[in-house]
């Protein structure tokens, strides 16, 4: 019987081995996804057991946990509605959003970098205090951006194009996150419902996610880049510029937008077309390049990808499977092209940075409650989007657009500014979406910016990128440059 008993022993060993493996899988390998499951109450209770870390701007908390006398020990407190698109909210009942969500591990002290602290807590019984996060945001610039947007709905996002360090990020309207952080169940629920059903959708972060926008003429930067990268075009290459142009295979007639002064000459160079934002030459240029070439260039600028800053952005879209006329429309940012302000900022920043795209980031440092540095963000290159010479060509056209083109309201006295406006149509009778994207100083960029204003800035179809969005961008850039 001995060999049989040995075989039974082996079978028992296998049974236990399967238990060891299954336990490891559940408690370690899959633990993160289970812990982050929205149905998991433990994470919520746990989150209130220790003091959650603060989110800081220039060492001042914009979100912090203060002692409360109820069962949860700590109440989350937010300062400044201009930061709501950054912090998001941390609520007992509605979960968490934005940085409160994407930095949750660090804020609640569960970051793997705090392993030794956790080990210490295991033996001492003192819970790990959450780590605090210092943002890259400039308090003054953020305030200027918030004020400059005024009563408009829209977003401003600005960063150093050479590092990807985000200096300001504003989404309007904002909301008071304290309304959702309250521990009072019914208050929190009714406040949440109100915010959620408001027509102006304050819970949406317009800078990086939520509804994407039609880019309009700012997309010409992508098409011009594709043209120069193809090697078949230079800024001096000319294109036919009839006053009216019927898209091939359709009866759709396009004209150059009323803002531009493209009338005149029967032929224009690409440089002039971008400076004056002419739709007709760009439609023909796009058709000549083909949607595949534009699509490939868009992809190189990051279209189709989600970026973690560390909140995840919504990927921008350049459509596929278009016919020739749709390709023509897409070439000046109409049809189904949809972008986030962050995406346009990344396009502009790549142009500003000699063609190299940097990873945008919001977090400078993460440190423990006793100020030990846990993490420090170093600039990271994502990819080369365009060649240095293409970047130089597009930059010069953008300088011209601000200096003596249709993007003139981006100009700052004494500083060379590169920029491009956009006025995107949203269908018959709908107000326009207004854009400005650019950087300054053009030859030694310190700041790149993207501004979007919804609803024609309240001016319906008479609002223009240059009249509404460009001045906002100028104020923000001035604040950064101290001019």
């Amino acid at each position: 019987m001995t060999p049989e008993i040995r075989r039974v022993a082996n079978v028992i060993l296998l049974m236990f081995l399967s238990l060891f493996i299954a336990a490891s899988a559940m408690q370690v390998v899959n633990a993160d996804s289970l812990n982050n499951d929205s149905r998991n109450q433990r994470a919520v209770f746990d989150g209130y057991k220790t003091q959650r870390g603060s989110i800081l701007v220039e060492n001042k908390p914009i979100a912090e946990s203060v002692a409360s006398s109820d069962a949860y020990h700590f109440l989350r407190k937010y300062s400044g509605v201009q930061y709501s698109s950054l912090t998001g909210f941390y609520s007992l009942y509605q979960g968490r959003t934005e940085l409160e969500n994407s930095l949750d591990n660090s804020l609640r002290g569960d970051n793997s970098a705090q392993f030794f602290e956790q080990l210490n807590a295991l033996f001492s019984g003192n819970p790990v205090t959450g780590a605090s996060v210092e943002l890259s945001i400039d308090e003054k610039v953020q305030q200027v951006a918030w004020d400059a947007l005024g009563d408009n709905k829209g977003a401003v996002i600005a960063m150093d194009p050479t590092t990807g360090r985000i200096i300001a990020m504003v989404s309007k309207p904002g909301f008071d996150a304290n309304l959702l952080a309250t521990h009072n169940t019914s208050d929190a629920a009714s406040n949440y419902k109100k915010l959620l059903t408001r027509a102006d959708a304050p819970l949406i972060n317009r800078a990086i996610s939520g509804n994407l926008y039609a880019p309009g003429s700012v997309f010409k930067l992508v098409v011009a880049s594709a043209a120069f990268e193809s090697g078949k075009y230079t800024p001096e290459s000319t294109l036919p510029n009839p006053p009216r142009y019927t898209l091939p295979g359709t009866k759709t007639v396009i004209t150059n937008s009323g803002e531009s002064k493209c009338g005149g000459a029967p032929k224009v160079s690409i440089a002039t077309a971008l400076k004056l934002s002419c739709n007709i030459p760009f439609a023909q240029l796009g058709i000549a390049l083909g949607q595949d070439a534009i699509s490939a260039q868009a992809k190189k600028f990051g279209f189709g990808d989600s970026v973690s800053i560390p909140m995840k952005s919504t990927p921008s879209v350049y459509p596929t499977g278009m016919d020739v006329s749709q390709t023509g429309l897409s070439s000046f940012g109409q049809f189904d092209v949809r972008v986030s302000p962050l995406q346009m900022l990344m396009v502009t920043s790549a142009i500003a940075n000699g063609g190299i795209q940097m990873q945008p980031y919001l977090v400078d440092q993460i440190f423990t409650s006793n100020l030990t540095l846990l993490q420090e963000t170093k600039p990271v290159q994502i990819r080369r989007s365009i060649s240095t010479s293409t970047a130089e060509s597009v930059k010069n056209m953008m300088i011209a657009a601000v200096a003596h083109g249709v993007s003139s309201n981006g100009a700052i006295p004494g500083v060379v500014v590169a920029g491009k406006t956009g006025t995107a149509e949203n269908g018959v009778g709908q107000p326009y979406t207004l854009w400005f994207t650019g950087f300054a100083p053009a030859n030694n960029p310190k700041v790149a910016i993207a501004v979007v204003v919804e609803n024609g800035g309240g001016l319906g179809q008479s609002g223009r990128g240059n009249s509404v969005a460009a001045p906002i961008a100028r104020k923000v850039m001035q604040a950064v440059l101290g001019k």
Binding site: I12, F16, N40
Partner: protein, 448 residues
Amino acid sequence: MAKTKRVRVMPAKRNLELIMLLFTFGVYAFALAQVQLATIQVLNPEGWFFWSVPVVLATAFHILLRFKASDADPLLLPIGFFLNSLGVVMIYRLDLAKPLSDLDRTVGQRQVIWMAIAMVIAAAILWGVKNHLSLRKYIYISMALGVLLLILPLLPVIGKTVSGAHLWVNLGPLSFQPGELAKIALTIFFAGYLTSRRESLSVVGRKVLGIRIPPARELGPIAFIWLASLAVLVLQRDLGTSLLYFGLFLVLIYVATARAFYVFVGLLMFISGAAIASKFMSYVGGRLEGWLNPLDDSNYSAVGGSYQIVQSMFGLAHGGLFGTGLGGGLPQIVPLANSDFIISAIGEELGLVGIFAVLAMYLLLVARALRVANAHADDFSKLLAVGLGFVIALQVFIVIGGVFRVVPLTGLTTPLLAAGGSSLVANWIIIALLLRLSDTLPKAGTVA
């Protein structure tokens, strides 16, 4: 005139046992203190009750072993005490987590009393059964007793249904799972029956395609056990119990006859039988769905769906590698945390490390049983020891495997850990029998 001097042999095994017992007593005291400090923030004198009753009884058991079974395996008692006391700690901890309005805050105290009763019964059996070979005389009584115990929960009035399974019996204020005791009776019966029939089961028979097929009359008992297992499955509505008995039988018939044929045919019969039976039972489909896709929202929110196992998964993930520490987690969120899901409570508060320790303890317990089986010379002792060891191993696999989603969830109890008197009594009896089996090993040199 030569004087004969009586040589006093130091009971080395008992001394080893004492050292390990003292260690487990210390761990137990430490765990109780931590539970109190973590949940009610003070050391409550009721901890003395929790600690002293089992400790006094285990010490008495140890002293009994010095006199009545001094050669018995030194690991069995400490392992049994360790697992049982860990279960008490968790159950007590879950009691403390209940609101003061909850009337059922004494599960831990009752568990301590049951632990005491179980150890007394085990000690009595150790004392009463001088040699396990005498059990051979009672194999048919064992069979009758086993079958009777299995049928009890199905009887009207005293039978009780808990979450769909008919595994319980109500006797006034007490309720118990007779199936737990049936597993011992049936192990004794299988071991005795197979000892007498192993010749005819293993040798006789025609060869077909190189495989020796036993004659039909020899297959009769196997078919009977198979039908009985399926009857348990259909009538008691519990796959775990059914699988436990059938698996036990297959392993013993394999060890007795050395013929894998029985295992293959048996497994095939069981799987096909269970598959057909499940077609006619609506609850099986839901169970399977909840097992395979527990996180699916439709299973999660279904009545009798995967809510329980998902909460347990959250708890286990929450515990992670090192656990939250005793009293630091929220194991009370899982329904039935102190019985069916006690392993999940342990996993949450003691982490994967704690789970590994518990599994290692079970594995060690089973290994000691198999070691005893190997060392015995006679068939009955071998089969009995293998049977008792395997029944623990299989039950651990089915229950803990259910929690970790290796197999579907069933209604079996976690040996020595889960709240419940009958289960404790049964498993302490198994420990007593293994102690007796290990004490009667042939001395080196007396048997070839």
